[in-house]
């Protein structure tokens, strides 16, 4: 499972929430994170793998089961990691990189179309809007995890415990609410 986004969007934190949830389920878990310079508004991808026994923390190209895209272009950038039968959960949000802002590059058109054509199953949601409804647009990652939770057999209590354990205490309630909104919007649309 890949989480692709832009530095500062919180995908490192979401990866931790997911990994802790998988750990509570008794799985072997490995994650790969990005720290340091790359987090300054750059392209950031985290990987989380779980199962009976996991070797590599890095995922092979075309072998991921899920892609959680925090931003459209970043979803497209890492789309080739998604395997046949893979599910893309996409935040319908465009954040222009500086190269585009300056007019040196063009933000590709029809990103969602590419993703829909490639992934076996695609789920779009406006996670920033949902998170804003929950109280803070920065909790968008929890909305995406809520959407993901519909496809996994982790009980609600495991997710809640993981969010409580991973998110700073003052942000717990907002993130729980954002998670629930993401989950509900997915459950009702799929």
């Amino acid at each position: 499972m890949l989480l692709a986004g832009v530095g500062g969007q919180g995908n490192v934190l979401s990866a931790r929430v997911l990994a802790e949830a998988a750990l509570s389920m008794g799985y072997d878990v490995k994650t790969s994170e990005v720290h340091g310079m790359a987090q300054r508004g750059g392209s950031v991808v985290c990987m989380v793998r779980w199962g009976e026994k996991v070797h590599s923390p890095l995922i092979e190209v075309a072998k991921a089961d899920f892609l959680l895209a925090f931003e459209l272009l970043e979803g497209l950038r890492f789309l080739h990691f998604l395997g046949a039968g893979g599910t893309a959960i996409v935040n319908d949000y465009r954040l222009d990189p500086l190269t585009v802002l300056r007019g040196d590059a063009i933000y590709p058109e029809g990103v969602m179309g590419f993703i829909r054509a490639y992934a076996a199953r695609t789920l779009e949601l406006d996670a920033r809007e949902l998170a804003a409804q929950a109280g803070n647009a920065r909790a968008a990652g929890s909305c995406l995890l809520g959407a993901l939770s519909v496809f996994l057999d982790f009980p609600a209590s495991v997710w809640e415990e993981s969010i409580r354990g991973s998110v700073p205490s003052k942000a717990v309630e907002v993130n729980l609410k954002a998670f629930a909104l993401g989950k509900d919007s997915t459950a009702s649309s799929s």
Binding site: V29, S32, E33, M37, S56, A84, L98, L101
Partner: protein, 600 residues
């Protein structure tokens, strides 16, 4: 037993604490930073941010001689700084254990080069362990301490980005060893005058022979025999990639990587008609094994630059392993290419950028206005090398900017070809970097009557690695208040006549001060002082473009602020990104940017 998901760095810290480490020192550097940050959260262990890696190692040497188990951590290039004490330390040995955790960065996620630290092992004749996951990080710190004390040598624990920053499951007990060894004076062993050092070098050499036996013992159980046709020697995270790529291959997984366990390697190799070595960066294991007279396939197939991953390992070896086994692609399933995705190279890149409101932006804008030749250093401000600021001429390593500026100025001043550049050389470096390695360069400048301007970007933290304290912040890693080094006093004390403090958000003033100091025939220091915008974020105001006033000249875009975009030929402020620094309003000629209340 407790079970937790820990990063490699967190596991090193936990392992060090459990092994009874009482003193630990480091200078922050990705990917090693979290080792000390984490260890500092445990009770009864003194942890410090040292001014640089050399001091960190010296602290560790002192404390291990004093009888306390000690951990020193740094990134790969940090050991270049600490190489001087490191090369002599094996001669004097330790008392209590000393482990240096060194974090390599294949792929240069956050580094200026991808040197392979394992060569330091060979050069300094120091035993080296390499863990393959967080559990091994935890266990190997303890094992390394034990080896350190039994063989009277420092030990290198080599990790790298994908070990340091991967979380894997760790099982452990929350117990802790108590190590408190007596100190006894032994000058012949610990004072390295030539006569003593001549006595000690043979000890280091014969110790290496003893350590080879230790490496053999360590390698017990390291042979994983599966296929009778494919044998692969590997270590560290490459072991994981190899398991993933070729699950049927037999593997010799080395944890003790210097000196190598020759007997074990020979025995493993004897089972196969061809043996592979899978390792990142340099052919370190490969050279060691070939020196035993064993032929192996390694870097002729596997890239020597960049980081590996399971796909790359598989692609590199699939053809040969297919020949060995008769199984298509050696059993690996190649990814099915999919035509409908644009190639990565066709997508707009998203390099890291300086944050909205970053104080460095104002400084580099002002430097550009003065057409300075900029000798830069290592920090977030190095990002201003990218367009539109494109404000850096050269950069090598921590603290190098000062000496380089001096040399460049001397070259220009004595040149006919480049005489127009004389007097335009400016050096920029961060507060933490200045303390790390810039101060000696400044002393050189003053001492040798250099005409140059040094700008210290004082954002009151070590920002790039995640806001670590340093001697200028007034706080220690342990959270204690302390004396905050006064950069102005410091620069004056080494003889700088002109030290001026300027707020980089004030563009006109900054530009004028830089011009004056560039023109002045002396060594001068400008301290560009404003706290990192990620620490002190909001001003309570934001800026908004009055569309009717904006001429669409794009002058504001020269700042390279991510909050500023063009929409329908007009500038537009993305309000949720704006922090109200006002720099765009200062550069706008038609005064189209207005201040409004906002921000959180």
């Amino acid at each position: 037993m407790k079970r937790a998901l820990l990063s490699g760095n967190e596991a090193v810290a936990l392992g060090a604490w459990r092994a009874g480490v009482r003193v630990a020192a480091a200078y922050p550097g990705t990917p090693s930073t979290e080792i000390l940050e984490e260890l500092a959260t445990y009770p009864d262990v003194y942890c410090e941010w040292s001014p640089n890696e050399k001091v960190a190692l010296e602290v560790g040497i002192g404390s291990c001689l004093g009888g306390a188990r000690s951990l020193v951590a740094m990134k790969h290039v940090g050991l270049n700084v600490a190489a001087d004490p490191w090369m002599t330390l094996p001669y004097i040995g330790v008392n209590a254990g000393l482990v240096l955790a060194i974090a390599d960065d294949p792929g240069m996620h956050s580094s200026q080069n991808e040197q392979d630290s394992r060569y330091y092992a060979r050069m300094s004749k120091v035993p080296t362990l390499e863990p393959a996951d967080s559990q091994e990080c935890l266990e190997m710190v303890g094992a390394a301490m034990d080896i350190s004390e039994r063989y009277d040598t420092p030990v290198l624990l080599r990790v790298e980005t994908r070990i340091s920053h991967s979380r894997t499951v760790v099982e452990y007990r929350e117990d802790r060893l108590r190590v408190d060894l007596p100190y006894e004076k032994d000058a012949v062993k610990r004072v390295m005058i030539p006569g003593h050092a001549r006595l000690r070098h043979p000890v280091v050499i014969s110790r290496l022979e003893d350590l080879e036996r230790e490496a053999e013992a360590f390698a017990a159980g390291a042979m994983e025999m599966r296929s009778s046709r494919v044998g692969i020697v590997t270590s560290g995270v490459c072991y994981q990639y190899t398991r993933e790529a070729f699950p049927e291959a037999s593997i010799l997984k080395l944890g003790f990587i210097y000196p190598l366990p020759e007997k074990t390697i020979r025995e493993f190799a004897s089972h196969f008609h061809r043996v592979y070595v899978v390792e990142e960066l340099e052919p370190f294991l490969e050279e060691g094994i070939k020196a035993m007279g064993i032929d192996v396939v390694g870097k002729t197939r596997i890239p020597r630059d960049g980081e590996l991953d399971p796909t790359l390992v598989a692609q590199s070896l699939a053809e040969l392993i297919e020949m060995d086994t008769g199984v298509k692609h050696g059993g690996w399933t190649p990814p099915v290419p999919h035509a409908s995705i644009p190639d990565e190279s066709e997508l707009p890149g998203r390099p890291p950028v300086m944050c909205p409101g970053c104080p460095h932006r104002g400084l580099f804008y002002a430097l550009n206005r003065n057409k300075a030749v900029v000798s830069s250093d290592i920090g977030c401000y190095t990002l201003s090398v990218l367009p539109p600021l494109a404000g850096i001429d050269c950069q090598v390593c921590m603290g190098a900017s000062v000496g380089m500026a001096l040399g460049m100025e001397r070259a220009f001043a004595s040149s006919e070809t480049n005489s127009d550049q004389a007097g335009k050389v400016v050096c920029v470096l961060g507060d933490s970097t200045f303390i790390h390695g810039g101060i000696t360069g400044l002393i050189d400048m003053v001492y040798n009557n250099t005409i140059s301007t040094i700008i210290i970007l004082d954002n009151r933290t070590t920002a790039m690695t995640g806001f670590q304290d340093h001697p200028g912040t007034g706080r220690t890693l342990m959270g204690e208040d302390t004396y905050a080094l006064d950069l102005v006093d410091l620069c004056r004390a080494v003889g700088v006549q002109s030290v001026r403090v300027v707020d980089p958000w004030e563009l006109e003033e900054m530009e004028a001060v830089i011009r004056e100091e560039m023109e002045a025939p002396r060594t001068s220091v400008i301290i560009s002082r404003r706290a990192c915008v990620l620490r002190e974020r909001r001003t309570g105001i934001i800026y908004r473009v009055r569309e009717e006033e904006c001429t669409g000249c794009k002058r504001c875009l020269r700042l390279g602020c991510p909050a500023l975009v063009m929409r329908d030929e007009k500038a537009f402020v993305q309000e949720d990104l704006c922090v109200g620094c006002s720099m765009c309003a200062q550069v706008c000629r038609p005064e189209a940017l207005e201040e409004v209340r906002g921000g959180d």
